[in-house]
Symmetry: C2
Subunit: 210 residues, 2 copies
DNA sequence: TCTCCTTTGTAACTCTTGTTACTGCAAAGC
DNA sequence: GCTTTGCAGTAACAAGAGTTACAAAGGAGA
């Protein structure tokens, strides 16, 4: 754990705090595609992302999903954080986008560290700030953008988060993330291909110029 | 200021903190309709809402608006808070929905109190939690609801926040808040009236059963 | 009362998105 | 090889929302 912690958070936290994290945190490995948190779950510890990527989803009563944003190394889930502090249930679903390693911190430590370490407070506030920004971006996309623009945004983000210009997914999966239908996605992807912005193959989309 | 502060926050903060707020905060009165914060503004102090209500809006590059949520007594704007901490510009616009009184806190105090007072930390985290929830609600509305449902939601919230079952506004203003056109709003309002959920008059909408 | 301006009602049309249905293709397993 | 299954392409249509245009009603002020 020492090495991963140093790499992801070494420049952020003072040594004393890093030592405390190492002492009370536990490493957890999540393979790609596996669920990390489900809507309605009680949150008993807080995750620090050291490797991989996570996607955060919202769901409505009919089971329809919507991708909110991705988390990367050095991030923590402010929603979870928020639930920890308030002792409420999770309002979101988290799924490993890639193979992912987390350090799980017991809630009890959080309050303690918030009082004790300035760097921890900054980290927590910075997380909230980032997540609020990402929520705003999600709202902008929904409110102000058409489906084709939203799809381009999705493809850009997906390529970026996976550090791979080839997106390995199906039209149906993209449709779920964006809360629309497969036919719509196929239609728009085809349009993007004609515009030479992407190239399409079975189970993969190559980003050329978005 | 003493009385207002006690009424709105007396049960939340310890006496010592209340005294500090009274000492370093300044009262500010904003008449209904007036702008409080503009997108891009640097945020130099943090507002505590003691009376009235505020609406928080998002805007895109074309100047199109969208109402995010309302704030009430006892609330603070987590977006602003977030900007304060990060020393970044405001990402939202805030407008007084009713005549409103605020206590403005200098940023410098915030970091100090966060370390010093548990009740302040709780308040700040609670604020973030509430605002994240409201953002999620906004996202749900945009992603999962049709215009007619969104309109009903809007009318319910507006009546609640103003503590008045008669909404004093025009179709055009509602259209701006919801980022749609006046004609669409008129059409849907008429439908709601036929369903006996509201009654319509010039410049006002009476909520009957939403 | 008359006039002007704002607000609201409505029709007709367009555009985007969602739905249904069917086809062809590719990969995996037999 | 053949069959099965999942994925992608496409047409045709439906529904929701946005746009344009115009008429009518309400209210304020002259």
């Amino acid at each position: 754990m020492h090495k991963e912690l140093q790499e992801a958070y070494g420049f952020l936290f003072e040594d004393e705090l890093l030592a405390e994290i190492e002492e009370s945190g536990t490493m957890k490995f999540i393979p790609a595609g596996e669920k990390i948190i489900e809507i309605g779950d009680y949150v008993t510890s807080m995750p620090l992302l050291v490797k991989g990527a996570i996607k955060i989803l919202r769901e409505d009563n009919d089971g329809d999903e919507l991708l909110l944003y991705f988390l990367e190394r050095g991030d923590t889930c402010a929603m979870t954080l928020s639930c920890c502090m308030g002792q409420t249930r999770s309002e979101i679903r988290a799924i490993a986008e890639r193979d992912t390693s987390l350090i799980m911190i017991p809630i009890s430590k959080m309050e303690e560290w918030t009082a004790k370490y300035k760097s921890w407070r900054n980290f927590v506030f910075e997380s909230y700030h980032s997540r609020l920004s990402e929520m705003l971006d999600a709202i902008d996309a929904l409110a102000f953008m058409n489906m084709d623009e939203r799809l381009m945004r999705y493809l850009r983000e997906k390529a970026k988060i996976n550090k791979d210009e080839v997106i390995h997914s199906t039209h149906q999966k993209i449709a779920y993330d964006m809360h629309t239908s497969r036919v719509v996605i196929s239609r728009l992807l085809k349009k993007l291909e004609i515009e030479k912005k992407i190239s399409l193959q079975r189970n993969q989309i190559k980003v050329i110029d978005l």
